[in-house]
Symmetry: C2
Subunit: 347 residues, 2 copies
């Protein structure tokens, strides 16, 4: 029997609550596919850091690398200094495993409220570069702490890094509505902007069926609230992608519904699936977190291993559950149960 | 008689249409203040560049420097390569004249439609740093054009530069609802983020009446569409400020209403006032551009020279005009006429 060997990192806060629901649904979805699920739990995040001072050791990395995929809940806690877990754990995983595609679909599901008065049909995917840009950690500080301090952040972008993510985005656009929007700020960030533009223009002729356009990141803010239905696939760098995907999440009913996949499409390293939301310490431990984003991330995981039909069932079950239960006050586990049951019934 | 010696840069596209309306209103507002208006037109922008290949010469700068203030319409045209006018003209002015405060008030005026279903009372000001950050042009490209290209963008932030803009923001908050929000991404951009955070924390005790909070740039996207009324004064860096202010413009009825001042509060150099919108080549020459953002920028100009009462009259006249004429199809000049008349009547 074919096995899915999954590393599970529940992490902090509501990560501990939503991940079990994601697994519940994953198990239900795999039934009848001929695939077995084996999971290994990893204690990573704030509590591990408090206990041991470790964020992610070489041994952790070596061990995680052997799995087929990773499912991560959320990491971060106010008790840990800013940046420690973000850079030492989450970004370290994305970089070490060459997660160069940070895939973030945005769908306004039927019956879900948008803060926009007239959102229209929102259904696009942000392909965010995940291993370069301002996230590389190449900054520094001179005369730190003094009146003459100079602090820098260096965004590093390579033709290699841009090309592979742009190709992925073109391939995805071809499978969807055949429209690709590059987002940058090439009128100010001329060097990085020119590189992104060049690569898109060089690859475009290979995808003559895909329509290509461009928007500055600032103008994007306007389009995303005035007319988000114009977008199909958006490709952009790490920082702009971070910003756009939170706005995308917000206009489509909140990042409580936003899924993401950190993909290494080459297959050299395991991909990692995680909800876009954080650990939400304010509601953690109450069992009221919404597991939808994690469950939708499980759908991305299923797609990444070729289980498209199982992925479709998960997505349909979530869509139906959202439509059936507007504003209902259900526990995290109840939602997981309902969706897992629906996934089984569709099987 | 006291004279306001104004340099006028209509620029490109609708800049040519909105600036005369701004001047019309400025003249009306100055009547009875004992201040005379003297204007000097500067031919800068796409047409000058096409004619002479020049964007902004040392002679232009030396001459502009002698004025009390600058009024700019918009620069940019699709016929000019990206970056040429942005970096060679607009940003060059902001940097040369140490416009370290890029002031962008956001108000949802009564009867103006927001794309948000429940915007609430939107009334905040973004204090965007204008002379540092990713805008300094410190990037470069190695092996440009090839498969091994590496393109960098360096964000440079200094204690000096951050402190002066943060102080301005605290002062402004004190005059308003006494709330200051720092926006950054200090969990990823740790060096620049740490500097901004440190400066805010160091200055805060001097403003113990001002409540300080912090938001990551990505979370800001969510707050701005879910609950924008929570903000009073927002202080942030150049790039994040660029992004936030377009979103702010969009949620408050479009950047057609968004004003800005590029201030040099020390008075060493002239400040520059400009609408946030661009040259809008698609509607240029038709006389249908909305001059409201330019007229509101004139209000900021009036405030910067201490004409607070005149500024108030301009703002009231715009507010009333917006309330009286929802969706009306009036020409740019008609709108200018109506507002100028109202400003006079209030005098
Ligand atoms: C937690 C943080 C480092 C992370 C990011 O900036 O990428 C998060 O905002 C995200 O979008 O996944
Ligand atoms: C035109 C461009 C250089 C400019 C900027 O990025 O500052 C504009 O977007 C703005 O916000 O004034």
């Amino acid at each position: 029997m074919n096995t899915l060997d999954l590393a599970v990192i529940p992490g902090d806060g509501i990560g501990q609550e939503v991940v079990p629901e994601g697994l519940k649904v994953l198990r239900a979805a795999l039934e009848g596919t001929g695939r077995d699920l084996v999971t290994t739990n990893y204690n990573l995040g704030a509590s591990r850091w408090h206990e041991t001072g470790e964020t992610l050791t070489d041994a952790d990395l070596a061990s995680l690398k052997c799995h087929d995929a990773l499912l991560l809940g959320a990491v971060g806690d106010p008790s840990v200094p800013s940046g420690v877990l973000e850079r030492g754990l989450l970004l370290k995983l994305r970089f070490a495993f060459e997660h160069y595609v940070n895939l973030r679909p945005t769908t306004l599901f039927p019956h879900v409220d948008s803060p926009l008065a007239n959102p229209g049909a929102v259904d696009f995917v942000v392909v965010r570069e995940g291993t370069e840009g301002a996230y590389v950690g190449a900054g520094g500080a001179l005369r730190e702490g003094g009146v003459h301090e100079v602090a820098t952040e260096v965004s590093i972008n390579t033709a290699h890094g841009v090309e592979r993510v742009v190709r992925y985005a073109f391939d995805l656009a071809r499978k969807r509505r055949k429209k690709l929007t590059l987002v940058h700020k090439h009128n100010v960030l001329v060097h990085a902007g020119r590189l992104w533009k060049r690569i898109v223009e060089e690859i475009a002729p290979e995808y003559s069926d895909v329509e290509v356009d461009y928007s500055h990141i600032d103008a994007m803010m306007i389009y995303l609230v005035q007319d988000p239905s114009r977008f199909d696939v958006i490709v952009t760098d790490n920082l702009f992608g971070d910003i756009i995907t939170d706005l995308a999440g917000a206009i489509s009913g909140g990042i409580g519904l936003a899924a993401s996949g950190n993909l290494n499409p080459s297959g050299e390293f395991p991909s990692m699936f995680e909800p876009v939301h954080g650990s939400a310490p304010d509601i953690a431990g109450k069992g009221i977190a919404n597991p939808a984003a994690t469950i939708l991330s499980v759908a991305l995981l299923l797609e990444s291993i070729g289980e498209d039909d199982a992925a479709r069932r998960v997505r349909e079950a979530v869509t139906e559950d959202l439509a059936n239960n507007p504003d209902s006050a259900r526990s995290c586990a109840e939602i997981g149960d309902v969706i897992a049951k629906a996934v089984r019934e569709k099987g």
